[in-house]
């Protein structure tokens, strides 16, 4: 056994590790990608803006997953604040039928009830958006509470620590 052959065995063993790592990584990564592409994500409401002239809310809805979604309809629940003269009301099942492609955002215009006054500070509009995805016949929903005059960036109210 020549000394050169010992070095060749060591070199080949190391090279084998790299090639096994590369080939195994390639095959595994493609399986993981294929599996991940089947998982639908819940849409996220990135931003909500009240447009006073049209008396509507513009929600930008983002699909963070790789499965295309279909926004079917929305419902709104109006809860008046202390400065409002309006009565509480519910408008349900307004069809929209919007396609939401993967990793993309669309703007959903949510019309408030007709012949109602513009939103006053403190009014709460809870928007439920109903959507479906191709892997299931079920209908899912995402609920976004919008408070007029409150900062949209604040997010949900933090629970007080005890």
């Amino acid at each position: 056994m020549s000394k050169k052959r010992v070095w060749i065995v060591l070199f080949i063993a190391l090279l084998g590790l790299f090639i096994g790592f590369g080939a195994g990584g390639y095959l595994t990564a493609n399986r993981v990608i294929t599996a991940m592409e089947q998982i639908p994500a819940s849409p996220i409401v990135l931003n909500a803006v009240y447009e006073k002239e049209q008396n509507q809310l513009a929600l930008s809805v983002f699909n963070p997953g790789p499965v295309p979604l279909r926004l079917q309809s929305y419902s709104i629940t109006f809860t008046p604040g202390s400065e409002s003269d309006e009565a509480a009301y519910i408008v349900s099942e307004i069809p929209i039928q919007l396609d939401l492609p993967p990793f993309d955002a669309v703007t959903v215009f949510v019309n408030l009830k007709e012949q109602t006054a513009a939103l006053a500070v403190g009014d709460l509009v809870t928007v439920s958006i109903f959507y479906t995805h191709p892997h299931s016949p079920d209908v899912y929903s995402v609920i976004h509470p919008y408070t007029q005059g409150a900062s949209e960036q604040a997010g949900p109210t933090p629970t007080p620590t005890q």
Binding site: I12, I19, Y26
Partner: protein, 190 residues
């Protein structure tokens, strides 16, 4: 006794390795349908194996024969002469050690063909990976073929490097034999 134990251990390791590969392949086929990328990998493996088949068996047989030559065991010389693509008269004029070296060098044309094909595939894979050919759908499948080819290329490189360490040993051994024969010849007339 020691040799038998060695053979048993080697056979055990080989059987275990084959069983492992078989179980893995069965798992691959049974548990998950093959993805297009898996097919690309298998295609690269098969095509490059076809290209490398003569090299793999050629180098394997050469290493075995060279080991027999170094251990002074009888060798099928006619079989080797039939394998080398050179005029028969020239081959018959060669000593055994030279014939073995000629056999090794005769495999060079297959070796260069294989490495050229492999480098072309590697080059195009890298070009698609660095997005230099523009966006194309072939890139990911080409990478699969590249990894399949790499597995075969690994075996070829291993056997190639190992086989090319033997000519020096063959030369040294032939010189040793020649020296001892010369001494015998020198001693005989006395």
């Amino acid at each position: 006794m020691k040799q038998h134990a060695e053979q048993i251990v080697w056979s055990l390791v080989l059987v275990l390795l084959l069983a492992f590969v078989l179980v893995q392949l069965l798992g691959l086929v049974l548990l998950w349908p093959l993805l297009p990328e898996d097919w690309a990998f298998l295609a690269g493996l098969l095509v490059f194996w076809l290209l490398a088949n003569r090299l793999l068996f050629g180098y394997g047989q050469f290493i075995q024969t060279a080991e027999r030559f170094l251990a002074d065991v009888a060798i099928d010389v006619e079989g080797i002469r039939a394998k080398v693509h050179h005029p028969a008269e020239w081959l018959e004029s060669l000593a055994l050690g030279s014939l073995l070296t000629a056999w090794l060098h005769d495999l060079d044309k297959y070796r260069y063909t294989f490495y050229t094909a492999y480098l072309i595939v590697a080059l195009f894979t890298m070009l698609t990976k660095f997005n230099l050919l523009g966006y194309n759908l072939v890139g990911n499948y080409l990478e699969g073929a590249f990894w399949g080819a790499s597995v075969v290329g690994f075996l070829v490189l291993a056997l190639d490097l190992t086989a090319h360490t033997y000519p020096a040993d063959i030369l040294a051994h032939a010189r040793e034999v020649l020296t001892s024969t010369e001494q015998e010849i020198a001693v005989e007339p006395v």
